[in-house]
């Protein structure tokens, strides 16, 4: 795993972004950028070289699923590992995400260890 790689964290709640960022940091990743919603995430992805996307499902303007679909259908971006964050009680969405090509998923609330496992599974 390349700890210097850029990771994009997408969520409309700053608290959630902070948590994910924090966990990623404890895993050793230093290069983390954030986006508030799918649209902004896409513009970030066009500008920077991102090695992993961790995105929430529920977001205004462009949902996580829409972002995933957009990423997977873009020539340049389609190979980027994508972890979808969903909430307890919305597991059926995961199936949707899997259909759309998500690399892995994680359910809130999660422990740092779980996120670590998922990240390793997806990158390793």
């Amino acid at each position: 795993m390349d700890l210097g790689m850029k990771i994009l964290v997408v969520d409309d709640f700053s608290t959630m972004r902070r948590i994910v960022k924090g966990v990623l940091r404890t895993l050793g990743f230093k290069n983390i950028i954030e986006a508030e919603n799918g649209k902004m995430a896409l513009s970030e992805l066009k500008k920077e070289e991102v090695g992993l996307i961790v995105s929430d499902w529920n977001m205004p303007e462009m949902t996580g699923l829409e972002l995933l679909k957009a990423v997977r259908s873009d020539g340049k971006l389609k190979g980027i590992p994508f972890i979808m964050v969903t909430a307890e009680g919305q597991k059926e969405n995961i199936v949707e995400a899997i259909k759309a090509g998500v690399s892995n998923y994680i359910v809130k609330p999660f422990t740092p260890d779980t996120l670590k496992e998922k990240v390793e599974a997806v990158l390793g």
Binding site: G89, K91, V95, I98, K99, V102, N104, I106, P109, T114
Partner: protein, 763 residues
């Protein structure tokens, strides 16, 4: 180390959680005493709450909280598993634990950590452990609670689950088998598969529709089982693995290890879609590939709990319940299940293997269990500032709308269409206002429930038996009111339990039920919220209160002429009660004067009624909305003022011979039997001129906290409902003025605060 916002959220959530837990604990105890039986759903709910708290605390590295919650959770788990029998000591321990957690929460609030409480935590952990090890002795106190599945994302080690999924690099099926499969067979396979999947879908939908353990679940299981078999035969391994895993999930649903809830059923329905996709792939010549098969398998795995986990009590199969209750044998259930085409219970009755009554009872237990599913609250957290801003804007909208509709330019004209439109606008504004106001409203139930713990503790400490009843919990009140009224309510209830309710033997001697009653009621009445605390204790002693008041110099004279109401009201005067010990129950405030102070802050009133030997009723009345006021608009000189309608008793034109002028210049007027002082706004505010003759104007009798005053005005202009606005910040608090409002013609009018006005007039 942790984000303050996160910690804040955690503290708020945890407090909420502990508030929720306490009434449940009390209920648990009560029902155990009444029925000798532990109420399973309540126990589970309590367990889950502690479990969540533990999880969150762990996330934030709050060690002391985690340790204590962990032990409490263990204790609760043992109770759940029946390894321990409920007793008072345990309940006390858990209460102690939750008090301790509250303490820790405060410390976290102040210092950001729960450090420094290690030894105390250790003590509580020890006592909890002792209680756990307790009479049974052979229960190891170190046993980890089985349901410690804190990692929802991690696949558990479930031996019943098939081994780690293979890689998705699919090879076509082994050549031998390929020879046996003809295009016809394949066609048939596809058709049959489509049908089976259709069936499964129907079964799952029926299950979702609430058919419990009937056709739905069994049917789905059967059909998926057949489907899996076919796929296996034809060698479509991804289809086989996915359907096998689904079958396992359904099996666990049958035995209750997996909840047959909406979410899980939705997942299964989507999996069925994915299976269909695989079959479509086959019909197009493919290998039955399923997009993201591994991840789907993982998802299904996550739904299956770890082997050791407790089975949730929700919606246990009827057969199991009947067996548990000893109303049917396991064998009978087995054979009935095999024939299953009717509800299981019915079959067993038909077979003569149980009685209809037993089935009914089991059904009602199942229903009860089903109901404890957590109701999904569709709440969102909203920044209070934003809410206030919204309310401000709505207030301004109402004002602006009034200025348009009642514009002086329109005076004398009749515009029919305009008026219709204006009326419509007025109605919409009013509705908008109601909704905006209601956003800040919260039911009092949370507040009332907190009192359950209070009464419980107080009565135990005082050695009395007190029942707390609640009425009107769903009554909604502005958020600020809830916050401000909490302390007063605590003090009033404390008063009732400590001084009002008599000890059981005394009550019996008086012919009363040895268990005393305190009733909390909330209701809306006439634009106000009424919150009453009623007890059936010994009532207030007029003479004693009078004596104390005289002793403390709170009243002049002997008070013989004072009405009961007034005397009882004295208990709220600052200085009346001696400084009571600040206990951990009420925490702050020095007694009943907090009541008066807080109620005043809310512009409300408090009344006391009492009958010796029978009880006391304390009523708190608070204006329903703090932002709208109904008032009387009056003119004094050149200025206009708005007087809150609630404070007005009556108005009249005085006769000069009813007016007496005291040596100091103070005017008094005789109203029936009373002599009421007169105040002129121009004097009180030193503004403008209102020096007309009293008989050329009007006197308005104002009442506040039992005192009366006459206000002299030149004219009464009418009654109106309007939005209260605050005066500009830098002007501060002006005695006698509670705010201002914008009138229809655009001018600003001050709103009088009657209490303050009276104070001011005295000086």
């Amino acid at each position: 180390m942790h984000d303050p916002e996160l910690v804040e959220g955690f503290i708020a959530d945890s407090r909420e959680m502990i508030d929720e837990v306490e009434p449940y604990l009390i209920e648990l105890q009560k029902s155990f005493e009444a029925e000798g039986d532990v109420d399973e759903e309540i126990l589970n709910t309590i367990f889950r709450l502690f479990h969540s708290l533990k999880g969150a605390a762990g996330f934030l590295h709050l060690d002391n909280v985690t340790r204590v919650t962990h032990e409490a959770e263990t204790l609760l788990n043992h109770l759940r598993e029946g390894k321990l029998t409920l007793n008072d000591t345990q309940m006390d321990m858990i209460f102690e634990a939750s008090d301790f957690i509250r303490k820790l929460l405060s410390s976290i609030e102040e210092k950001g950590s729960d450090e420094g409480f290690e030894s105390e935590a250790e003590e509580i952990v020890e006592s909890l452990r002792k209680t756990i090890a307790g009479p049974a002795g052979n229960i190891s106190a170190d046993e980890q609670p089985a349901a410690s599945n804190d990692q929802p994302g991690a696949p558990p080690d479930d031996p019943s689950v098939s081994p780690v999924p293979e890689t998705t690099d699919e090879e076509p099926v082994a050549s031998d088998e390929q020879l046996l499969i003809t295009p016809e067979m394949k066609k048939q396979f596809i058709e049959e598969s489509d049908e089976l999947l259709e069936e499964v879908e129907q079964n799952l939908l029926a299950l979702e529709g609430g058919e419990g353990q009937g056709e739905g679940l069994a049917g789905a299981f059967r059909n998926i089982h057949s489907f899996k078999g076919n796929c296996g035969f034809f060698g479509y391994s991804e289809l086989e693995r996915l359907s096998h895993k689904s079958e396992t999930v359904l099996e666990h649903m049958k035995n209750g290890a997996v909840e047959a809830c909406g979410e899980n059923i939705s997942v299964l329905l989507r999996i069925v879609d994915m299976l269909r996709g695989g079959i479509a792939d086959v019909s197009e010549g493919g290998q039955g590939r399923i997009q993201g098969c591994d991840l789907l398998l993982e998802l299904l795995d996550d739904m299956i709990p770890a082997a050791e986990e407790e089975q949730p009590a929700e919606g246990k199969p009827i057969g199991e319940i009947l067996v548990e209750r000893g109303d049917a044998t396991p064998e009978a259930v087995e054979s009935a299940l095999e024939i299953q085409s009717k509800p299981l219970g019915e079959i067993l009755v038909d077979m003569g293997k149980t009685t209809p009554k037993a089935v009914e009872k089991a059904l009602s237990q199942q229903e009860k269990q089903g109901k404890t599913k957590k109701v999904v609250r569709r709440d969102i957290r909203v920044d209070l500032d934003k809410l206030n801003e919204l309310n401000d804007l709505v207030g301004e909208l109402v004002t602006a709308q009034a200025m348009v509709v009642r514009n002086p330019d329109l005076k004398g004209h009749e515009f029919e269409n305009f008026e219709k439109a204006a009326h419509h606008l007025e109605q919409i504004s009013a509705s908008l206002q109601d909704v905006a106001m209601s956003l800040r409203m919260i039911p009092v139930s949370g507040l009332f429930r907190k009192m359950m713990r209070l009464v419980h503790d107080l009565s135990r400490k005082a050695g009395k038996r007190v029942d707390l009843r609640m009425k009107g919990e769903e009554t909604e009140v502005d958020k600020t009111v809830i916050e401000v009224i909490s302390d007063p309510l605590v003090h009033i209830i404390r008063n009732s339990v400590d001084h009002g309710i008599e000890p059981p033997d005394e009550r019996e001697r008086a012919g009363k039920n040895p268990t005393g009653m305190v009733e909390l009621e909330a209701k809306h009445e006439g634009g106000e919220v009424w919150i009453t605390v009623r007890d059936d204790g010994k009532g207030l002693d007029r003479e004693r209160i009078l004596a104390k008041a005289i002793q403390k110099g709170l009243i002049e004279g002997d008070g013989k002429d004072m009405a009961d109401k007034e005397i009882f009201g004295l208990i709220f005067e600052p200085g009346f009660s001696t400084a009571e010990k600040v206990t951990d129950i009420s925490g702050r405030g020095v007694g009943m004067d907090v009541v008066r102070k807080n109620i005043d802050q809310l512009k409300g009133r408090v009344d006391v009624q009492s009958t010796a030997g029978e009880g006391t009723t304390i009523s708190i009345r608070i204006p329903l909305t703090l932002a709208i006021i109904e008032g009387m608009l009056v003119r004094s000189g050149e200025s206009r003022y708005l007087i809150p309608l609630l404070a007005i008793k009556e108005s009249f034109r005085p006769k000069l011979d009813h007016v007496t002028v005291m040596p100091g210049g103070q005017e008094m007027v005789r109203v029936r039997e009373e002599l009421i002082p007169v105040a002129r706004l121009s004097h009180v505010y030193r503004l403008g001129n209102g020096n007309g003759r009293l008989d050329e104007g009007l006197l308005i009798i104002l009442e506040n906290q039992g005192k009366s005053m006459c206000l002299f005005v030149d004219e009464i202009l009418g009654q109106m409902e309007t939005v209260i606005k605050g005066l500009p910040g830098f002007m501060g608090n002006i005695q006698g003025v509670s705010g201002c409002t914008i009138l229809g013609d655009g001018e600003v009018s001050l709103i009088l605060d009657v209490g303050g006005l009276m104070e001011r007039a005295k000086q």
